[in-house]
Assembly symmetry: C2
Homo-oligomer: 285 residues x 2
């Protein structure tokens, strides 16, 4: 296939490389001037698929405003940012008006799995959109969860997933700090809990960042303000309370107030540690 | 070894059977008149170890008040209930005054692992207490996490573990209900999430109870009022906020107010479902 990938951050560049490795012709675009090794020289009118791997809804909208007039009928937009389901439906309508398919296709997995072609994709869209995107999906993902033909279902699944993931990061941080107040150091915590029923994928993935005092952003605090904000924006107008999610979002917001928005999301531990009066690994006591 | 097991509920009876199966002589005691297959006829003065597997601190205290005058010097009490660290220290002092060792040894794993001798035990106590208890620990547990020689450390680790486990149950329930409001049924939720970074051990263990509408208590809502209450009782006097735990405890308390205290802890989903106005599997809409 001839494709374009918009957004060459850690996810987009890995996905583009997975596409190139499996024999596709891929052009890459990034407003920061990032370039793509092995890229093909393609313009949107030549492309069968446009993979949009930008940060949020506003950036997705900006990319589509630019490329939609240039895409040809039957091409497919694969929209991978975490966005509100209503936004996904609006973009799909814009695409449909020009005969372009739209796959609502948020991704999960992280940079290493993106580079390996091992992502999870939570996708919804018409059968024609899935068919047009299939070779690209197969190159980028280990698992494509097909959430049905209604655009928005993929984004809804992603919002639910982010509620779980963000809440588990906050819970890991709270429990690790609580343990420290009781004399349980992070190393011991991470030896014991993963062997017990209290573990989570996020605890095992992010806990070592706190133990090592390493807040290099693999996924930043700011991402959770956005992603949990999407869940809040879906739930609030419908009168749905999400108290666990809200407690996590409150923690991430306090982290931003402490100037930690650009740090790794495990830095939410600094919020709880400051409150409890304990010094995390790597911090002065 | 000659041992007694106090408390023949689902955990205690499985642990007693694991001890019998590995060749120990075991007497069993339960105020409800439950009996133990293959039990030996022993009185406390003959026992090298007393395994106390009752519900809470009050029951532990009552058992010790009864048996401590009868135990001989050098015997060991293995206290397995989830209790406050301060309570464990007080009991250890009472035992020490009579020359009896005390192992602060909360358990994790559930009935099936108790019966298989595969529990996790978070234990702290003197080297002499560990040595005296070792054959019994080996018979009951796959993993003994040695939390040091200070009684209370095992109970602190258990409290931290319960913060994680209880919070993850509440988060699973909230996210599953949120998904239902967005058209994602529990079956699909449980197909997708366990393959993604948003999963937890509790989600995979308790989620199917909600999907199946099966609230037969494997572990009851009431347990979490007690266990999260222990965490709150440790944290509050020290001025430590546990906002994630508190949000979960609020949910379990609302479940009790709805008359669900004796149901499986997955019934916390009924709290969130009632608020969101969705009908869970097995419930009238």
């Amino acid at each position: 296939m001839k494709l374009g990938v918009w957004g060459l951050g850690s996810m987009g560049s890995g996905m583009a490389q997975s596409l190139i490795r499996t024999g596709h012709s891929v052009a890459g675009f990034d407003p920061r001037g990032v370039t793509l090794d092995g890229a093909a020289d393609l313009v949107p009118s030549e492309m069968e698929a446009a993979i949009v791997v930008v940060l949020n809804a506003a950036q997705t909208e900006a990319v589509l405003a630019e490329i939609l007039p240039q895409l040809t009928q039957g091409a497919v937009v694969v929209a991978c940012a975490t966005v509100p389901p209503d936004f996904a439906r609006a973009m799909a309508d814009d695409c449909a008006a020009r005969g372009v398919h739209y796959l609502d296709a948020p991704i999960s997995g992280g940079a290493a799995r993106a580079a390996a072609g091992d992502l999870s994709i939570m996708a919804s869209g018409s059968a024609a959109a899935f068919a047009a995107a299939r070779p690209a999906l197969d190159a980028m993902a280990r698992t494509v969860f097909e959430m049905g033909d209604a655009v928005g279902a993929g984004s809804a699944m992603k919002a639910v997933h982010q509620v779980l993931a963000g809440t588990h990061i906050a819970t890991m941080a709270e429990a690790m700090v609580f343990g420290m107040t009781q004399g349980i150091d992070p190393e011991r915590f991470l030896e014991v809990i993963p062997q017990c029923g209290g573990t989570s994928w996020m605890l095992e993935n992010r806990g070592p960042h706190v133990r090592d005092g390493d807040y290099t952003p693999r996924s930043a605090v700011d991402i959770w303000i956005k992603d949990l904000g999407i869940a809040a924006d879906i739930a609030a107008p419908a009168g749905i309370d999400l108290p666990m999610m809200q407690a996590a979002l409150d923690g991430f917001r306090r982290a931003v107030e402490m100037g930690l928005g650009g740090e790794d999301d495990a830095a939410i531990a600094k919020v709880y540690a400051a409150q409890a009066g304990v010094a995390l690994p790597g911090e002065a006591s």
